[in-house]
């Protein structure tokens, strides 16, 4: 379709990776999503009473966080950061190495956690450390050179700092499994979780929301000033939450959660304002998933505050973790179901000399609808099963999650097949 070309800095080639690069990350995330639910089905009996330690629940959590969240975040950021910073990536070998190390590290770590096999956890930790170091080198280089979108870039810097912190804590926790040198491993584990969820992943999710939600809804970007205010509250809340957890000061942690709630309120207000100003009338099922995930963000903070203040029964910690993961998982799956056909259509437009497939044509609505119902059913059944101590509901919830993950994988496979078929189809 593009008949001409340009060597000017603004050409597509300077800012765009081949489609196979983000799609390898997204494809792996889709498979890890399936694997995480499958492992959770196997460990459903231990979920309600989970308090940390090796086993299927810990393995499933890390398949979800590393395999789905980090994999998607890396793939999306490698594709989208150049848009925010106006700086390209030119490191295919390093990106390739990141993908392999992240896959190998996630599989080893999850296997080690499932089987309580220390050597596998160490191998996984080493591979993941290398993957994260390579990724940080690319990310920080891009952020340092980039000047546009100050709020998004600030989120990137702070997410990178959180990533370093959570990696160090993760490695300490792996070493502690064998040597037991931490006086209170539970505090380190909770700090690791807070840094991962509200720090690295949460900040990336918020930062990219300011680019992706306006792009998909066709709306102006929110003001940098308010986005930075939300970021300040989020980081202050997280810092206080971490200090409270680390020093055993529950009130600090609760106040941190309250400040985090203020940040979440600002962020959600900006998102609501963005959607009110949109040009696109029908947002589609991706935004139902997105709104569901947004609802879980304050819910996770409320439950976290209540947990810190000992206002919840024993199962409160598990419910807090479930809603926290639900927020991030829902957000990422909403982004994935929108970005996969969008990128495929865009790359087809750049590659084809004739009409490329539309986003609508590349989106399989049936599997996505099935995924939405299953995802909602999983969250409701798991929440109810944990709160009412009904193992049957927990088992049904994990099965619904697995069915949803299979539907999502079907959607992804169809998008790839339709894209390939469009490229191969003879010209009319």
């Amino acid at each position: 379709m593009s008949l001409g070309a340009t060597s000017f800095l603004g050409s597509a080639g300077d800012r765009l990776l081949p489609l196979s690069v983000p799609f390898r990350f997204f494809g792996a995330a889709v498979l890890f999503h399936l694997a995480a639910w499958a492992v959770l089905v196997a460990g459903a009996g231990e979920l309600a009473a989970f308090r940390g330690g090796a086993g299927p629940v810990l393995a499933a959590v890390h398949l979800m966080t590393l395999g789905v969240f980090v994999m998607t975040a890396m793939g999306a950021s490698l594709q989208l950061l150049p848009v925010a910073t106006l700086q390209g990536f030119a490191a295919p070998a390093r990106i390739n190495a990141i993908w392999w190390l992240l896959n190998i590290g996630t599989i080893c770590l999850a296997a080690g956690m499932y089987l309580a096999w220390h050597q596998a956890m160490v191998a996984g930790g080493v591979a993941l450390s290398l993957a994260i170091a390579l990724y940080l080198q690319l990310l920080l280089g891009n952020l340092r050179r980039g000047g546009a979108m100050a709020a998004v870039v600030a989120h990137g810097w702070l997410a990178a700092a959180a990533l370093i912190g959570l990696l160090l804590l993760g490695l300490i926790l792996i070493a502690n499994q064998e040597h037991g040198f931490l006086a209170d491993a539970q505090r380190a584990a909770v700090s690791h979780m807070l840094l991962a969820a509200y720090g690295f992943m949460g900040l990336l999710a918020m930062g990219f929301s300011y680019v992706l939600v306006p792009m998909f809804a066709l709306a102006p970007m929110p003001s940098d000033r308010w986005a930075l205010a939300a970021l300040l509250c989020t980081c202050a809340g997280l810092a206080l939450g971490l200090a409270g957890t680390w020093f055993g000061q529950d009130v600090w942690a609760a106040v941190g959660g309250g400040i985090g709630l203020a940040g979440a309120a600002l962020y959600l207000g900006l998102m609501a304002m963005t959607l009110r100003q949109r040009m696109r009338r029908k947002l589609g099922p991706a935004f139902i998933m997105m709104r569901l995930s947004w609802a879980l963000l304050p819910l996770s903070l409320f439950s976290g505050i209540a947990w810190a203040l000992d206002l919840l029964p024993d199962w409160g910690a598990v419910l807090f973790g479930l809603w926290l993961l639900g927020w991030l998982l829902g957000f990422l799956l909403a982004i994935l179901q929108r970005i996969v056909p969008f990128l495929a259509s865009m790359h087809a437009a750049l590659a084809m000399k004739r009409r490329p497939p539309t986003v609508t044509a590349l989106t399989a609505a049936g599997p996505l609808a099935a995924h939405l119902y299953c995802h909602c059913a999983a969250l409701i059944l798991l929440s109810a099963g944990i709160a009412w101590a009904m193992p049957v509901l927990v088992s049904l919830g994990t099965l619904a999650g697995l069915l949803g993950a299979a539907s999502f994988a079907w959607f992804f496979l169809l998008a790839v097949l339709k894209y390939r078929a469009a490229l191969k189809a003879p010209s009319a």
Partner: protein, 90 residues
């Protein structure tokens, strides 16, 4: 909601022109799509400072074609036109 076309735009012999250079993302995309909604026929010439790759899926969805045409130094100039096959089929 309707986006106001605030970017400079004018009618010329070769179609309606819009200059979105210097606008922060995603304003160029919004301005171009808003203009396309008002154009009854003929082509649109876009003056941009980089290739608007994320605009292409939106153009495809709306039945518009694009090509890069020669422009000034430091400018990416695009010609947009309606796909008749798409228009007739919808």
């Amino acid at each position: 909601m309707t986006v106001l076309i605030s970017a400079p735009h004018w009618q010329a012999d070769d179609g309606c022109h819009i200059d979105v250079r210097g606008l922060p993302a995603p304003q160029p995309m919004l301005q171009i799509l808003a203009l396309l909604e008002t154009v009854a026929g003929g082509g649109v010439i876009v003056h941009h400072d980089r290739e608007p790759i994320y605009l292409y899926p939106e153009l495809t969805e709306r039945g518009w074609n694009h090509e890069i045409v020669p422009g000034e130094a430091g400018e990416v100039r695009l010609r947009l036109w309606r796909d008749n096959a798409y228009t007739n089929g919808h």
